[in-house]
Symmetry: C2
Amino acid sequence: MTDVAAAAGVSHQTVSRVLNGSELVRADTRARVEAAIAELGYRRNNAARLLVTNRSRRIGMISAHLVLHGPSMIAVSVQDAGHKAGYDVSLVAVEDFSTQSLREAVGRLLDEAVEAIVVAVAHREALEQVRSLDAAVPIVVVQGVSAGQPMAVGIDQEAGARLAVEHLLDLGHRHVAHVTGPLEWVEAGQRRAGWQRAHEERHVLPGPELAGDWSPQSGYEAGLRIAEDPDVTAVFAANDGMAIGLMYALHAKGRDVPGAISVVGFDNVPEAPYLWPALTTVDQEFSLLGRRAVELTLQALAGDLDPSTQLIRPALVVRDSTAVPRPS
Amino acid sequence: MTDVAAAAGVSHQTVSRVLNGSELVRADTRARVEAAIAELGYRRNNAARLLVTNRSRRIGMISAHLVLHGPSMIAVSVQDAGHKAGYDVSLVAVEDFSTQSLREAVGRLLDEAVEAIVVAVAHREALEQVRSLDAAVPIVVVQGVSAGQPMAVGIDQEAGARLAVEHLLDLGHRHVAHVTGPLEWVEAGQRRAGWQRAHEERHVLPGPELAGDWSPQSGYEAGLRIAEDPDVTAVFAANDGMAIGLMYALHAKGRDVPGAISVVGFDNVPEAPYLWPALTTVDQEFSLLGRRAVELTLQALAGDLDPSTQLIRPALVVRDSTAVPRPS
DNA sequence: GCACAGAATGTTAACGCTCACAATTTCGTT
DNA sequence: AACGAAATTGTGAGCGTTAACATTCTGTGC
């Protein structure tokens, strides 16, 4: 900076003013300084700047399971929205949810001087943990959100599940079986709750519940069992991956989809429309979620700790994997 | 730090020594300092540290198309490997490949004081651009790599494609059609080259070539056209997403897979084994790629600008979407 | 009991920037 | 031409660390 100042024949402070877009610099001085900057290929040293301003313009994000569709979409969209708002986003992926590794993740972010932390980890306890670490920076939650939670934006999982189940019941199915996600995930619990609630409301008993873990493999295993139960005519899988495994098992067992059994997934992965049959599923608007999360973060940074939870309503996309039940 | 020093009754320099694991601190002083640190919940200020050491322990990564399987896997694995090596990884996603936005991405990373940049952008020109920006830090390339390129690790796309095509020819197909990726992607070009080469080697003419853009949609469109050509008995799609769209179109047109037409994809997405039919595809070891990339980066940082390119050989995974051609 | 080496600790000066304030221009008024 | 206010520019300190060097202990051999 001193070099630039010398080259432009001004003081370092004037260079600083130019860099920060201050109004109180005469146009020609500004031009001279800018020329010097370009000439010398000068870049401001952010460490020094951060040291004195104490504002990093960086927000941190804790994610997990980035191989899964949902988490990765969220990560990308938050990152994107953050950049657009002029913030850098540091992502740290955790592999397990021990206090240990969560503490480490938060620590790493704090070391990077993040101004806020976006937590995109859907594990029930993990959320508590991070909250309890209480990191002197605002924390915004974007996964595993339920109504009434402070500083949180989420997609209404329960509503999505109800959409799926109601669609099936409307078609005339007596009840709907459910392949759950791993129930430590808040999302999995919420989708399961929506499935139950939808049945309750119509005063019918839900179909069988099978435990899955999001993987196509687990959907496949659930499918093998469902194929043997002639009573099941409709299944709601908690994500598209499991729905895919499920449909595979049903095919393999000669149970036609949707002829014999209807299937609904959750996520609307890009290949969903091109599965055979094209998968009816629930679509979540992740990009909106990311934007909202960043908005909320910015609000928090501005001191407005808005306690209201925002829930984004997902939408059902009806394709060819669901149909009226075959009269038996 | 001064506070900690005061609390422990030592000088700030001793605190600094403890923090940096210096040997020249007596065990009991160290303990006292550590107690004070814990007590006060002190964290070292990295900006100040960076300011004086000039070592950020951060590497940058430029990615694009994070929604696609390959790029996102690479991003995750580099990030992961970087963390394991004690580096933070800053990811910036670019949306287009204009000099403008590439320059901005590099600029953003440089502003974060990254010590090296990993470029995971498979656009032909983009690579040139970034290289020509010549950023005073080592640059490692992990996508769109071909033999003989300096500072690069990649997966041998051409070899993967040949594996796929040879498998089909071995089964007895006269030739193989190809749905390409967008040819601005180096990968797409390389897979196409492998497809051509495999035919050349057996002295047969390749089947028709159709242009795709990685999306299932484009695979679907290609599939509709292929379904009308009775001469095509085998197709190599440049990624699994297009293979999925392709198979959908073939189904829709009543062309059985693999009975009438065999299909091979590329990527081995998690749902590949559960498609109907389970998809024969090419598996790339992304986690290894990430590790190698970080190793290479570390080497470069150590001043060893190894000019040799490392190419990782992918593997063919044979499932149920390929079979011997039906005698006509 | 003393000199001395080596271990342990302390002191001071950067690093490159912004902030608060001081000094100098500039320009409109009279 | 001189005054003063506003606009522009400059000065010095300090952000929290580490590096380099200075100082003070500690224990050993005689």
